[in-house]
């Protein structure tokens, strides 16, 4: 340290404090979001019972019925469909990219899957309305095709880049020796993939699936455009229904801020926020388990 503390020294100090305060600000923001959305949402329960909100599927705010089960079921249903279609397909893509693809195919396919991630969600919704709804209408024999299946298919495509890139990274980060040992023992490539590589990369693959689910359940615009937006319990794949996100978009504009109805919508957003935070904790445990092995 120089005897006379020059401006160089103070600059160094100042920049350090600026960096620390930006990091603290990031933490404050997430706390603010939880606090504001949570307070607004939880004030629903001043007038509505918690049990009614979570177990009744009767949502007609005009007559004082605030049961959000339809929307919760819709969100979970569409997310599950998305994972059932997009998960295996994405995993196949990841295995292909990591183990099978010749370099030139990979050089082309990796940016192509990244392009999926860049497409705005409204554009997915637009494609959903233009094409996919017609397809699901035929598949489910419903007149319009709007509903959980359409939303699930659109979401399945939207989560592909997440599943592919994270699973591929997990597969690639395995030590080469795993593969070499298995092949040297006479296993075929498929046996190696199925018995060695995929199990060894499973914490990473699990992380990919969880993050994909988080994306699917929080996705708003694409789902809102193809779900049909009827507050009807989702009893079939092809009938119009609603999700937490789609219902917020539909009704937020029509309700005065601070009314019970409005607070109910904030409560739905708070549920989404809680789900997202739980997912992050799951991901952390999955990756810690992976590191411990």
């Amino acid at each position: 340290m120089p005897q006379r503390k020059s401006w160089v020294y103070y600059n160094d100090r100042l920049s350090r404090y600026l960096f620390i305060s930006s990091a603290v600000l990031v933490s404050l923001i997430i706390l603010c979001i939880i606090w504001f959305v949570g307070m607004q949402g939880l004030s629903t329960f001043r007038e509505v019972s918690i049990i009614e909100f979570f177990t009744s599927s009767k949502w007609s705010p005009d007559s004082g019925k605030f049961g959000a089960l339809t929307f919760i079921a819709g969100s979970i249903g569409t997310t599950l469909i998305a994972i059932l279609i997009g998960g295996p397909l994405g995993l196949a893509g990841a295995v292909f990219l990591a183990e099978i693809a010749p370099p030139w195919v990979r050089a082309f396919m990796r940016p192509a899957t990244d392009l999926f991630a860049g497409i705005p969600s409204v554009v997915y919704g637009y494609v959903g309305i233009t094409v996919i709804v017609g397809l699901t209408g035929k598949l489910t024999n419903s007149p319009t095709g709007y509903g959980m299946l359409a939303a699930g298919i659109v979401l399945a495509i939207m989560i592909l880049p997440t599943v592919i890139s994270l699973s591929e990274d997990a597969l690639r980060s395995l030590p080469r020796t795993y593969k070499e040992a298995s092949l040297a023992l006479g296993a075929t490539r498929w046996q190696t993939i199925r018995r060695v590589l995929v199990p060894a990369a499973s914490p990473g693959i699990l992380t990919a699936i969880i993050l994909a689910m988080a994306r699917a359940i929080g996705e708003t615009m694409a789902v809102q455009m193809v779900i049909g937006n009827s507050p009807r319990f989702p009893d079939s794949l092809g009938s119009p229904t609603s999700t937490l996100t789609s219902n917020i978009v539909m009704e937020m504009g029509n309700t005065p801020f601070g009314s019970t109805w409005n607070n109910g919508l904030f409560m739905m957003a708070f549920i989404l926020l809680i789900i997202a935070l739980i997912m992050i904790i799951l991901v952390r445990t999955a990756s810690r388990k992976g590191a411990a092995r």
Partner: protein, 281 residues
Amino acid sequence: MKAHQADRFATIMLWIGALAIVAILIAFLTLILGRGVPHLTSEFFNGPDGVRGQLFNSFYILFLSLVLSLPVGLGAGIYMAEYAPKNKFTDLIRLSTESLASVPSIVFGLFGMIVFVNMFGLGFTILGGSATLALLNLPILVRVTEESLRAVPRSYREASLALGATMWQTLRKVILPTALPGLITGITLVAGRALGETAILIFTAGMNVSRIPFDVNPLAAGETLAVHLFAVKSNPLPGTNADQIADGTAALLIIMVIVFNICLTLPSRWLQRRQLGKNKM
């Protein structure tokens, strides 16, 4: 040889899966561009229902959101990469960044609505939209900054510090310039995502567009292209050619995404090459 048959079958299936993924993408692009590009006329931009205002708002809001989020995002990323000791505090900040990254965009939208529309009483404004969008950018910026700074070899730092430079001088003169290609790629990534964001802006920037062309007033409502596509497609106004506007807008958005994706790779490659050239001398 059953195992070999299984191997061949699996290989074929994986090829089919990969082809299906690429086929879906190609189908998407041809569908959107094929339907929309013919509508991209001067009438589409400047006509009575033209999207010139929305196009301007898209970039204006993107610009403002980057102005708001870049300093904090870079700062927090630099702290995490260079200063953060391994302790509970650092862990907490990392957890917050990851949580912030997982918050669904509609929740950001509602948060922005509470704060900017209701608490500050601004109503739907470009400023509120940009500030909320900045929150979406933040966690990605932090992560990208941290990753690109960590990729800089340790020896660079050690050499600079050993020469008597302060940490700040080392950062400014050595680490940040070396990490620049990664940073630019990251910022382009963030920009591409922010450009297509809708759920946040519906609740903060609103669905109206200023009558004045290229209105830079940040307190005006500002509908962006993505919001416009949503508005046109979900509540088509009778008497307008809503379907054609939607087709054109979707194509324009996709073209912007493709351009951004190209930008994602080009400048960083160029910078890397330049730096390699410099180092050789």
